[in-house]
């Protein structure tokens, strides 16, 4: 124990609890001394006692303790139980497979506990080159594994780096568990670096986009808050959480008091909230009696079971499903799949629907309204729904809100709004629908289902025909890249971990047969660029133990934020096939510049200024090679693509990351 330090105090309330106990011990000693013969004072004290309790005057021992010189400092060099070991015990109960971190001094204690005391298992440290990568890896991992991965970072500069990725996870309703190091007590900061890396209220910076945070000041407090944070993160809507691991608590020995009393509470996750029975019956009545019901799927399937349930509901009432593609919600080739945002699937089906059931859709207003497009001045919006159409929402987002960041979208008028988790509500809704279906309704539903199946087939044939356009073009068409990839992965247990709408014209969603939870994981959440490359590696990390072939279609602009994640994949032997969508521009912005120039009626040929990623062109194969990743490219001629993909898949099957740089059409 190093409590003997004369000028240093441990900034924890366990210390102050000890202090209080020390004081009580002192008063007891004083009273004992009183009895032992401090006769001159004793009668006075005794005379006063019958009326009320009185603080006794200090006895000789205490006076000595307060006036004599303090005991000599004894240098204590080691401890068998740093506080961080206990913190790790807490963390281990939360069952994290991995902890992503870029190393930082404010959590060096916890880092050391992890690798030595914890033997670098559960969690295993994953070395990241940027805190944004750490969080985005956790984001991608959670979307495959359905649970959070731990991230460690400095409470100051590390969190500043991490914050955009936290915002993405927040907007995407993904659990991420962030532990921040910080030296709370000023006198413990040993260098100017430690002053610059310390903060009063670390989580303040991200409080607008995390569900909960705490700054525990004792180890017991750390234990309870850590377990609480996990529970809150995993209660729908899932969200990121932040816990501060005070550096002094980490590095100083666990006190005798804490050794005796500190307890790690048991984690029990909350049941997600499901809708009440009356509302479920009302929704069922509306769905069963609808002529043209439409289900819009947002972030419905939290688990693989969510996909099965959504299919069952759609088939039970023969309703079309329009998937917003934030998750894998509904099989792409299902005959009731009426198409997502691409191909006008949502627009036409919304216009025809008489009942719309919106499941976990954050941007429902966008799906049900048109707005003046960017090519015209002014702003006017109109509903896409037909007169009298009824809208029902089941949305866990209604249970949780923050004001500052505006990812919640415009207020949508609806007819029945249920604040509940959609996946948890689906079983009772399916049962309620089944009970209400009469033979007559059944016939009507079957006819409708047959029509929907026909139109899904027409849509699909149209997509196949459209994919042939530009087939032999160079730069290579995104449809061709999608099909060359599909041709080689379709017999594998594959997992596509990148967003393809709008970047890749949604070709994989339009052409590939996706039906498993890990076949598609949606995108950023908040379109914070820099998400894709690390999220893909995080997803691949989750897929590794399942032996899945992870495929990432990687945009060029995104990779350039923090390409170091390629090294992380190589270092930790995370198998992943990266196919570059190398369009040599920040293409969305390039299009917007053209829009702006056309609106201003001038200079339509200058849009590449400030948006191009050319001159010089970036050689991504060489970049990947520098990070230790097997790479091929640039592939310019479509003929060379299939052999390159084949070689890269062979490398990935050996357990390493690979990258094929493909110079592609922009969209």
């Amino acid at each position: 124990m190093s409590k003997s330090k004369s000028s240093a105090s441990k900034p924890s309330s366990s210390q102050s609890a000890l202090g209080r106990r020390g004081f009580l011990k002192g008063t007891a000693a004083g009273a004992a001394a009183l009895v032992a013969g401090e006769a001159a004072i004793a009668p006075v004290v005794k005379a006063q006692t019958p009326a009320r309790a009185v603080t006794p005057l200090p006895g000789a021992t205490q006076i000595a303790a307060e006036t004599n010189a303090p005991p000599m400092r004894v240098d204590v060099y080691t401890t068998d139980r740093p506080g961080s070991d206990f913190m790790l015990d807490v963390i281990k109960t939360l069952d994290f497979e991995y902890c992503c971190a870029n190393p930082g001094s404010s959590f060096r204690g916890l880092h050391e506990s992890m690798v030595n005391y914890g033997k670098n298992k559960m969690p295993e440290l994953i070395t990241c080159c940027h805190e944004e990568s750490s969080v985005a890896m956790a984001h991608g991992y959670a979307k495959i594994e359905g649970k959070p991965l731990m991230v460690m970072a400095h409470g100051t500069v590390g969190l500043q780096h991490a914050s955009m990725a936290i915002y993405n996870a927040y907007a995407d309703r993904v659990p991420v568990y962030v532990v921040l190091g910080n030296i709370g007590a000023a006198e413990w900061r040993r260098t100017d670096v430690e002053w610059a890396h310390s903060v009063q209220d670390a989580a303040a910076m991200v409080r607008d986009y995390v569900k909960w945070d705490d700054n525990p000041v004792t180890l017991q407090h750390f234990a309870e808050s850590s377990v609480r944070a996990y529970k809150m993160s995993m209660t729908p809507p899932y969200e990121p959480v932040v816990i501060i691991a005070d550096a002094v608590l980490q590095e100083e020995p666990m006190s005798d008091f804490d050794r005796r009393t500190a307890r790690i509470p048991k984690l029990n996750l909350s049941q997600p909230p499901a809708s009440d029975g009356n509302s479920v019956n009302e929704i069922a009545r509306m769905l069963v009696n609808a002529e043209n019901p439409l289900i819009i799927a947002g972030r419905v399937a939290r688990t693989p079971e969510g996909i099965r349930l959504l299919v069952e509901l759609a088939e039970t009432v023969q309703a079309g499903v329009s998937d917003r593609h934030y998750r894998m919600n509904f099989p792409t080739m299902h005959p009731l799949n009426v198409g997502g945002p691409i191909g006008g699937g949502t627009v036409t089906t919304v216009a025809n629907a008489d009942v719309i059931l919106s499941l976990e859709v954050g941007d429902l207003w966008m799906a049900t309204h048109s707005q003046t497009p960017i090519n015209r001045m002014g702003m006017e919006s109109k509903p896409l729904t037909k007169a009298g159409a009824k809208i029902i929402t089941i949305y866990s987002g209604d249970l949780f809100g923050k004001s500052n960041y505006q990812d919640f979208g415009r207020y949508n008028e609806v007819d029945l709004s249920i604040a509940a988790d959609a996946e948890a509500t689906l079983p009772s809704l399916i049962e309620a629908c089944k009970k209400l279906i009469t033979p007559q309704r059944q016939r009507a539903m079957q006819e409708r289902g047959a029509k929907l199946a026909e139109s899904a087939k027409r849509l699909r044939d149209r997509d196949i025909e459209a994919a042939a356009y530009g087939w032999d073009a160079s730069p290579i068409s995104t449809a061709r890249v999608s099909m060359e990839l599909w041709n080689q992965i379709k017999t594998e247990d594959w997992s596509l971990v990148s967003e393809t709408f709008p970047f890749f014209s949604a070709w994989p969603l339009r052409l590939w047969d996706m039906n498993k939870s890990y076949h598609y994981i949606g995108g950023h959440g908040a379109y914070g660029v820099g998400y894709q490359a690390p999220a893909a590696v995080g997803a691949a990390l989750a897929n590794r133990k399942h032996g899945r072939l992870t495929v990432n279609i990687q945009t060029d602009g995104d990779l350039n934020y923090a390409p170091g994640v390629l090294w992380t994949a190589a270092h930790h032997k995370i198998p992943i096939l990266n196919i570059m969508h190398n369009k040599r521009a920040y293409h969305q912005e390039l299009m917007y510049l053209t829009d702006m120039a056309a609106r201003a009626n001038r200079g339509i040929d200058t849009a590449l200024i400030g948006t191009g990623i050319n001159d010089p062109n970036i050689d991504y194969a060489t970049l990947a090679k520098a990070y230790g990743v097997y790479s091929i490219g640039p592939i310019i001629n479509p003929i060379d693509l299939a052999p390159a993909i084949k070689k890269a898949i062979a490398a990935v099957k050996k357990g390493e990351p690979a990258l094929v740089d493909v110079v592609t059409q922009p969209r």
Partner: protein
């Protein structure tokens, strides 16, 4: 790129004032391709007009030359409107010629990896 606008605009402005309806004249495929790339039609429509998430398929063009020019002046949906101040009828005639020159796509049946999706 910067110089291109001056090069294309100045002479064709004169051409425009002399002959406002050159749209039926045959345009130059090469010039049209260059304009198509330089003014950013390719950004949304793809370099061979194949279309995608950001723009309709326009290669080969679905409209006649006059309809094409009319559309570009007053487009539907989110397509930017290009006035004759930034793109003359002559320029658009060239662009049209380029789009016309794009061959019809290979039939799906001749692309085995695509063809096998049919009926699935």
């Amino acid at each position: 790129m910067k110089h291109l606008l001056a090069f294309v605009l100045l002479p064709s402005c004169i051409a425009f004032s002399q002959n406002a309806t050159t749209s039926d004249a045959t345009g130059s495929v090469d010039k049209g391709k260059k304009i198509f790339m330089d003014v950013g039609c390719y950004e949304c429509h793809g370099t061979v007009g194949q279309g995608g998430a950001a723009g309709a398929r326009i290669g080969p063009p679905p409209l006649n030359a006059q309809g094409f020019i009319r559309y570009i002046r007053k487009p539907a949906g989110a397509m930017p409107a290009f006035t004759d101040k930034v793109l003359t009828d002559r320029d658009l005639t060239d662009v049209y010629a380029y789009l016309k020159s794009i061959p019809a796509p290979k039939p799906v049946k001749d692309i085995p990896i695509l063809n096998e999706l049919k009926g699935k």
